[in-house]
Amino acid sequence: MSGGGNVRRGLVGYLPANGTLQQLSPPTKLLIFLLLAAASSFVYLVNLYVLVLIFVVAVILFSFARLPRLWVRLVFLAFGFEALGTFVTYTVIPPSSVPSDAEILFSFSWFIVTDHALITVAHVVMLFFSMAFLALFLIGSTTERDIVEGLNFFHIPRTVGLMFGMIFRLAGILFTDYDTVREAQLSRGIDYRQGSFVEKLRKFFGVMVPLIVLAFRRAAFSINALDSRGYAIRNVKKTTFHQVRLHTLDYLVLTPFFAILIVSILARYFPWSI
């Protein structure tokens, strides 16, 4: 299903096809993700201010990606749950586990809130949500081909680029197959909403087994197709037909992200805040 002109089938659903971010060249989009991810790794548990900055930038990027609202809700559900879990594991603790240098802000039985715990939880929450928004930005603004071309740009070996392309392609096809298999089982009266845990598990198999078999059948065909097109030929320097280049816009867009990375590295090695 190719759809209307303004949407495309991505890895996890239908996504906008046209937009500001979609116009950037593939390595730029990949670099934005990697630069901010690296920056957040440097300041995690070191500098909350810079981490919050990264979070704000991630939200701005995410808003340009114009993803379906359902995805946003799912993300908040999943990561909110995990953030809550982090909070619990740092605050519901035996009194003997409280670090000696931590200041207790509130305590009630085993519920002990310390400054150390709050700061750690704040870092974890900021990291989770920054990365979540960045990942959604990546999904929303890049196609699988962008990722492969981005890898090629960085001189990642061709086999690896091809492998990633085929992984994304096959995963995308599997999501489509998942819909078809579900429909096929619906046509036999399988209602996924009803039944006990054991019955739901059986229904789950009714989808997973055909999905795996389909994946293997496609993969087996692909072996022949790859070989027939000379993939495994030896002693030949392979050509890369597409050459991706960065333009002025890409350099302009990347500059602030490099700046954030530099600030993050400085913040790590010249600590000045929480």
Partner: protein, 578 residues
């Protein structure tokens, strides 16, 4: 012309097979020759194709190969598949499974990139192939988003980009609408003419391809049974039918009338047939306004009221595609088998999925025996309308055929005894009882298909929707499946058949619905729908050869008639030929 392919006493068996799949095959193919390889399912045609570029033996590591195969002077047992990629271009049967990349352009350039061809040369070849195959402007599109005919052209283009000496195509038209098929075959013919390429085409549907080839081979059980020039080959109608191959329809009719035709050369195309037959028609017999021996105006009657009603049905997919645009349709409780025809993307599968509530309407409603599909219980719906998907692998989820067939029944809350009885009956009806304890994934496609049909049949729906049951099946298996559906229809099941096979639709279905771009263009008795050439053309369809032949002869017969099958046309002409 020298030989470009030689098989010397070649035999092959896969690791898991007891019998030889190819047995003592001796074959020579000349450079520039167009060879058609035909035969029933399991005859070894695809295996033969896979041997030509050394996929066998290299990718089938534990099989056993005897004899010697030489392609362009190279021994396939001593030359890698990758080296053969520059000599043999392969187009596989499953068109989507051979796509490796994410755009048409990437797909086309993949081969020469691997071979280290320079960028400039790749660009030159790319421009040439896009123009040759009418794919200009499709560079950035995903191959999966193209029509069936376009996908096949991309697959052919990808094979051509390495400038092979030999092009091998394995059933390249199996899942395409009829005019798409004509396009692909015309492309192959043009390639042959412009490039003088050696072409080896594996195909079991012989209409449309017969005249393209220089020579035709018949394989059965891995052995070469018959070979010859097309006219001589397809003239051996009895031998072909006995060995599971249906010659072109017009050839069959001519063969049946050979005594009256003074054993003239067997025609292979509609035009040849009309040119042969027309002068021999006894105008005196036609001018008496003698009616053909079948009645074109009284199709099987509908009765029992409407079972399914679609009212102003619209369906929009999440990506914005409007697949159905205000469809009105009703299917009676009892009536002729229904053929649902249309090109790829016309909406026929979407419409069919509404019939048992797999899809819900965006607008309008679907009523199945009093149940509104928007709110009806799933279990109630599937006992009214069963849907058999095109690819049985989408439905098979159990470890044995028996469990697979009982899977749906377990969800209906039947007792184990009731389930056992229904499964037993249905396995017997479909003649797959001997496979009851086998693992369905390991069975051949035809048996997997029957397993899935059994699982739907066991639920005893009033209507069975079958999606492309004969795709990839040879003539014999296609007839087995259709006769089984005909038997079910005779027992009172209403059958809706989605198909690209116009021959099958004409012969078995008394009612035809033609769709295009989400709308119904025609709905009525098959005979009258097939006589509307313009409507069919809009839907990218063309009637089967016997229909076209009889339409062309109509003016001679001074009566409007259309034969829907070989036997119908034979019967009419039997009485009219001098």
């Amino acid at each position: 012309m020298e030989d470009i392919v030689t098989f010397e006493d070649v035999s092959w068996k896969y690791e898991e097979t007891q019998d030889w799949v190819i047995s003592q095959l001796n074959l020579r193919v000349k450079q520039g020759e167009f060879l058609l390889v035909t035969g029933p399912n399991g005859s070894g045609k695809t295996t033969l194709g896979t041997m030509l570029n050394a996929l066998i033996p290299y990718n089938y590591r534990y099989g056993t190969l005897k004899g010697r195969i030489t392609v362009a002077g190279k021994d396939t047992a001593a030359t890698s598949v990758a080296e053969f990629s520059q000599i043999v271009g392969m187009v596989f049967q499953e068109v989507e499974a051979q796509f490796l990349t994410l755009s048409v352009e990437d797909e086309l350039v993949f081969g020469p990139e691997n071979l280290g061809v320079s960028r400039e040369e790749i660009q030159r070849r790319l421009d040439w192939v896009l123009k040759l195959l009418k794919l200009e402007g499709y560079n950035e599109k995903s191959p999966f988003e193209l029509s069936g005919g376009q996908k096949q052209r991309v697959a052919i283009g990808a094979a051509l980009m390495t400038l092979p000496k030999i092009l091998v195509l394995d059933e390249p038209t199996s899942d395409i609408d009829p005019l798409g098929k004509v396009e692909v075959l015309a492309t192959i013919r043009d390639l042959r003419e412009s490039l003088n390429m050696t072409i080896i085409l594996v195909e079991h549907l012989t209409d449309d391809v017969a005249l393209l080839a220089d020579r035709v081979l018949l394989l059965k059980d891995g052995r070469l049974i018959l070979e010859g020039a097309p006219r001589e080959f397809f003239g051996s109608v009895d031998t072909l039918k006995k060995n599971g191959v249906e010659p072109p329809q017009v050839s069959q009719v001519s063969f049946a009338l050979r005594n009256k035709l003074s054993n003239a050369a067997i025609p292979l195309t509609v035009d040849e047939f009309v040119q042969l037959i027309a002068p021999k028609i006894n105008l005196a017999k036609t001018s008496s306004k003698r009616q053909p021996t079948f009645d074109a105006s009284t199709p099987e009657q509908s009765e029992g009221g409407q079972l399914i009603e679609l009212k102003d049905l619209w369906h929009t997919y999440p990506d914005g595609t409007v697949a159905l645009k205000g469809v009105d349709l009703s299917i009676p409780r009892k009536g002729p088998m229904v053929a649902l025809l249309g090109q790829n993307g016309s909406g026929k599968t979407t419409l069919a999925k509404h019939l048992n509530g797999i899809l819900k309407p965006t607008k309008g409603c679907v009523n199945v025996d009093g149940l509104d599909t928007r709110s009806a219980n799933r279990k109630d719906l599937v006992q009214k309308v069963g849907y058999v998907f095109q690819n049985p692998d989408h439905q098979i989820a159990n470890n044995t055929v028996f469990k697979e067939v009982s899977y749906g029944l377990e969800n209906l809350g039947l007792s184990q005894d009731q389930i056992n009885e229904r499964v037993k009956n249905v396995l017997e009806f479909l003649d797959i009882t001997s496979y009851a304890n086998e693992q369905p994934f390991l069975l051949q496609k035809g048996i997997r298909q029957r397993t899935v049909i059994a699982s739907i049949l066991a639920m005893r729906p009033s209507v069975i929707v079958v999606d492309e049951p004969t795709t990839g099946q040879d003539a014999v298996n296609s007839r087995v499946i259709m006769e089984m559906l005909k038997g079910l229809h005779a027992q009172g099941y209403q059958i809706v058949l989605i198909t690209h096979n116009m021959n099958i639709a004409a012969e078995y279905c008394g009612r035809t619905i033609v769709m295009s771009e989400g709308r119904i263009l025609a709905d009525g008795p098959t005979r009258s729908v097939f006589s509307q050439a313009e409507i069919l053309k809009r839907a990218y369809l063309q009637p089967p050869p016997v229909c076209r032949a009889s339409q062309n002869l109509s003016s001679k017969l001074q009566t409007d008639f259309m034969a829907l099958s070989v036997s119908e046309l034979e019967n009419v002409l039997e009485n009219l030929i001098v």
